[in-house]
């Protein structure tokens, strides 16, 4: 699903976020990216989401070489990927329902189908009864679950999440990870950046550890 070949990302200041990184995530896998802050986790996800372009090397997502995705085609590319953010990035001027419906509106799904799918997504994260609330009236964990519902409402094959539990206490974190786990069980590929090693160990998924933008083969049962 995801292949990185010798990817380097150098910022204008000269510092390298990623140095010659190669890795691969198979279809249907649930993989964690770990490492200290500044190790390159976020940069890796941003390259996959085409928020950034690599300085050199290739990023291939679902058989598409991201290098060949033209600027104009980026929106269509991003619609294939579900994204979850640490600060969930919900829109605070509209209720939960509208937040989750946004990707469907962007994709041009008709109203009735959209309503059905939004409720299905909210049901999956256990927030069906809160569809009319404004995000700020929800707890941090609930807000993050709304963010997840928004990411999966278009049923993407790939979901990437940047520190999705960064702002949550351990119980809520586990809850969020269980939700991810359920998506993985129905075939969604997940790539999750996190530094919560204790939590990851409990889930028993593959782990890609980064340090200074390079692969560090610690705690990786598959490689």
């Amino acid at each position: 699903m995801i292949q990185l070949e010798n990817v380097t990302k150098r910022f204008p200041g000269g510092q390298e976020a990623l140095s010659g990184l190669s890795l691969s995530v198979d279809k249907g896998e649930m993989v964690f990216v770990t490492g200290h802050s500044g190790a390159g986790k976020s940069t890796l996800l941003r390259l996959i989401a085409l928020i950034e372009r690599p300085t050199s090397g290739q990023v291939i997502v679902d058989k598409q070489n991201t290098q060949r995705v033209k600027r104009r085609k980026i929106p269509a590319y991003r619609r294939q990927i579900g994204m979850v953010f640490q600060d969930h990035r919900l829109l605070h001027d509209r209720p939960v329902f509208d937040n989750v419906a946004l990707p469907l509106i962007i994709a041009g799904v008709n109203h009735r189908d959209a309503g059905r799918r939004v409720r299905a997504a909210l049901d999956q994260v256990g927030l069906l009864h809160k569809e009319k609330q404004i995000p700020q009236t929800l707890s941090a964990g609930e807000q993050q679950r709304v963010g997840i519902a928004r990411a999966i409402v278009t049923r993407p094959k790939l979901l990437i999440a940047d520190e999705p539990t960064g702002n949550l206490d351990p119980d809520l974190s586990l809850e969020v990870m269980r939700i991810f786990r359920r998506f993985n069980e129905v075939g969604v590929t997940l790539l999750i950046a996190s530094h919560d090693i204790a939590l990851i160990d409990r889930l028993g998924c593959r782990r890609i550890a980064l340090e200074d933008g390079k692969l560090q083969l610690e705690g990786d049962p598959w490689q």
Partner: protein, 321 residues
């Protein structure tokens, strides 16, 4: 297996018709923009008023010029000129000459005012009746009042007047309608000035709307970033702002229209009184349907142009971080 099921579930995205999708998006986007304006009634009203007042100025001047034109158009004798004949010409000769001139293709009609008629009218209108009675003989000449045909241009009129003044019987040709031509020339200048003024005010409106929408974009930067992050195209994030421009234009145009009509309503009585003093009956023409449409439509175009210009410039710059 599960992946295939997911792919099937995505299918309705493509199955809903492209046109219906387009229409639904615009409908919800336009209502959304209108709702956003309604949620900030005071600032929206201010901008709409600024646009309305700005547009009403050229529209009002235009109406005034239009009315001035219609008043001056009723002076259809404006092109008439008088030919004073030499004193030795008799009434019969004058009559013959009048008939001759009237046969020309470029002349509509010729009226003979004999010296006696002229004297009688003069006595009656001047109030010097008694004094004039003292005169032993009538010093006034016979006069031909010539009305040129409608096909004449101002150049051909001058030629015509020259030709007639060269006739041996004619003493002098007097064109007493120069001021009408001057009046028309002034109206032309005013109309030209309106065009220039309208262009400047149009630019002002584009700047006002553009700046308002720029602020709106800045305020919604976060929203634009998030929307782009989950796959919205530039066109998608631009759409609500185009609709905002549309609504500003539409509402501003309607305000301008109402202001002009209300102003005319206020002028109706005083103008009627003035016309009464001149024993005439002037009816003020207001903006007709086509002109009202042009005013509101022009305002909408300005709004769309301003928002498109601003949104196109800023949307490309706002990329997710």
């Amino acid at each position: 297996m599960a992946v295939t099921r997911n792919a099937d579930a995505v299918a309705p995205v493509r199955s809903s018709g492209a046109f219906t999708t387009w229409l639904t998006r615009h409908a919800s986007s336009s209502l959304g923009s209108l709702g956003r304006l309604a949620r900030q009634p005071f600032s929206s009203l201010m901008i709409v008023m600024v646009i309305g007042v700005t547009l009403s100025i050229p529209a009002a001047i235009n109406v005034i010029v239009k009315n001035a034109q219609s008043v001056s158009a009723s002076w259809d004798n404006a092109l008439d000129f008088s030919v004073f004949l030499k004193p030795e010409i008799s009434v019969d000769e004058a009559q013959g000459l009048a008939g001759l001139i009237a046969q020309r293709a470029d002349i509509e009609r010729v009226d003979l005012i004999t010296a006696d008629e002229a004297m009688a009218t003069f006595k009656q209108q001047s109030g010097f009746g008694d004094a004039l009675n003292q005169l032993s003989d009538n010093p006034l000449p016979h006069t031909l009042s010539v009305r040129p045909g409608p096909g004449n241009t101002s150049a051909s009129l001058i030629l015509l007047q020259e030709e007639i003044s060269n006739l041996p019987e004619s003493e002098m040709v007097q064109v007493d309608t120069d001021w009408v031509q001057r009046f028309h020339a002034i109206l032309d200048i005013v109309r030209q000035a309106i065009a220039i003024g309208s262009a400047l005010l149009g630019i002002a409106i584009v700047v006002i709307i553009g700046n308002t929408i720029r602020l709106d974009i800045e305020n919604r930067r976060e929203e634009i970033e998030v929307t782009k992050l989950i796959g919205a195209s530039n066109a998608f994030v631009r759409r609500p702002f185009l609709w905002t421009g549309f609504w500003y234009g539409l509402l501003g145009g309607i305000v301008a229209l109402l202001l002009v009509q209300y102003g005319l309503y206020l002028l109706r009585d005083p103008v009627g009184r003035l016309a009464g003093l001149y024993q005439s009956n002037i009816d003020i023409a207001s903006l007709d349907v086509a002109e009202s449409g042009a005013l509101v439509g022009g305002a909408i175009l300005l709004g769309l142009f301003a928002s498109w210009l601003t949104a196109a410039r800023h949307m490309r710059r706002i990329e997710p971080r």
